[in-house]
Symmetry: C2
Subunit: 322 residues, 2 copies
Amino acid sequence: MPSVTSADVARAAGVSRTTVSYVLNDTPGVSVSQATRQHVRDTAARLGYAPSAAARTLRRGRSDLVVCVLPDWPTGPVVDLLLDHLTDVLAERGLFVLVHHHRDSRALTDLWRAVTPRAVVGLAPFTPDEARAMAQAGIVVVGTVQTTDDDAFDRSQHDLAALQVDHLAARGHRRVAVAATDDPRLARFAQARLAGVRDACAARSLPAPVSAPVPVDRPATDVVRDWHETGVTAVAAYNDEVALAVLAGAREAGLDVPADLAVIGVDDSPAARVSAPPLTTVAQPILAQSDHLAAGVLAAIDGTAAPSWPADPAVVVVRGSA
Amino acid sequence: MPSVTSADVARAAGVSRTTVSYVLNDTPGVSVSQATRQHVRDTAARLGYAPSAAARTLRRGRSDLVVCVLPDWPTGPVVDLLLDHLTDVLAERGLFVLVHHHRDSRALTDLWRAVTPRAVVGLAPFTPDEARAMAQAGIVVVGTVQTTDDDAFDRSQHDLAALQVDHLAARGHRRVAVAATDDPRLARFAQARLAGVRDACAARSLPAPVSAPVPVDRPATDVVRDWHETGVTAVAAYNDEVALAVLAGAREAGLDVPADLAVIGVDDSPAARVSAPPLTTVAQPILAQSDHLAAGVLAAIDGTAAPSWPADPAVVVVRGSA
DNA sequence: CTGAAAGCGCTTACAG
DNA sequence: CTGAAAGCGCTTACAG
């Protein structure tokens, strides 16, 4: 179908393309009579005119599109919240957020064929190569984690782990196990988190933690039994999903939570509230993080200084499991 | 930063823009010497050349972008799977998938300002107005559900509900309750699903089901107790998340699942495998649906006939709860 | 108040 | 084998 252009609208309405553009964009500072405005709008609607974003972007020299790159692992409700908030905040500045599920680097390269975004927000850590390619292309890259080389990355994972250990230690636990994830895509995170638990234990003179991967799709019965038999009384889980599998394993093994085994997760997902027992977990300040990301995009676009990362008020939500 | 264009590359490499375009796009059927090809590529890399997607799209008259519009409610791992698969399948045809979290109609209108996609895949039902606007803009619209007016919409929800009732009835249950969602964004679905359970009960000569909204962030203790006291022995939940809240409520109320109360969900989410007891649920053929969506996009683009919706092999996954 | 014209960066027939 | 030129649809200084 031959799509209708602004020239078609101009011709049909008996005005110039200039006028069509002025009216349809509500360009400030131009005076076009109300009658003409209405006539142009009616004509555009009648013809089913849809402006070409490509032409607009080309002419303007910049697009209003912000691409948010997600990690390729399942992200859950916490990230949904972040995305919605980010979309809202940037929409107020006329920026439109579209999300890319990052699977492999090839896909990230193809991205430039399909769109030239104004900015890219990375929720997945980029490799140094990817980050360099984007920077070179003049694309603003903002992220929770700039690259996997970033120190801030390890630090944030460390802090999360420390909060778990703090809570467990305050309850008198000494022998802590780490329920890691078995998802290879999360290896980088799991590793930093384990190191965090290890350091926190050392700092509190607790014995070094043991660790095992825990699949999320079945009760972690065997692992839990092993841990319990070797004197472990508390488990720091990679996230709530893993913690749920630990809870299920304890149930199967006939262990009482938290009496026989305390369990603490990370995320404060909805499921944490209705598990048996309800899950004690670490909640991250997701809205604050989202605001920070939005501020980072805006700062980069406006050329002002990037906001500093907010003091991290991640907090332990105490429920029944630890 | 003045971004580098193909003209800059041509100048620096000492060739014409034509040659740059041929080399960088691997245009078939043109003969450029290997030496020149390499020289152009090196020059482009050295200058950090990134082609303008807007210019390319404008010139070509079409973009390679497919926008997938998600509903504004939390979608979970099932939709993630669908998205990943859709992205893979369409990538093979050079199409790039970006996801938009649909919150309000204003945002959907802004979409055309930011991008002119080749096709839109709707996972959320569009209003008739929205669908018309897109069709008029010459955008291919493909979806599980074209509009909320669509008959197929009610039918699919009906089928899901019928499967739940079938399973419950086969286990000897007669008094069925519907654990609906309290999320207003899902009202349209909840309504169709309730109607489905009602019809299925009628068809099997069971008494009409009772129904109550169940929040997912706390145990549904009171509702469950009420149901049990009025002779209800089985619950058809809106989805697994709601079912989990029912399970938690039963636990609080001191009821045994499934002896005192059977519970069946919808989705077969990971959490369903590790709940107490493991959740019996209805699994949807998500990969088949994803393939169908991809085929729909391709058919529309190629101008061939849209594939018919596959016979829906949604299936009950029997675990411990019903 | 309105219009003619330039130009954003690319691709691709066409001529050499 | 390579280059000059047209044109995609828009916005916006500029002239009237």
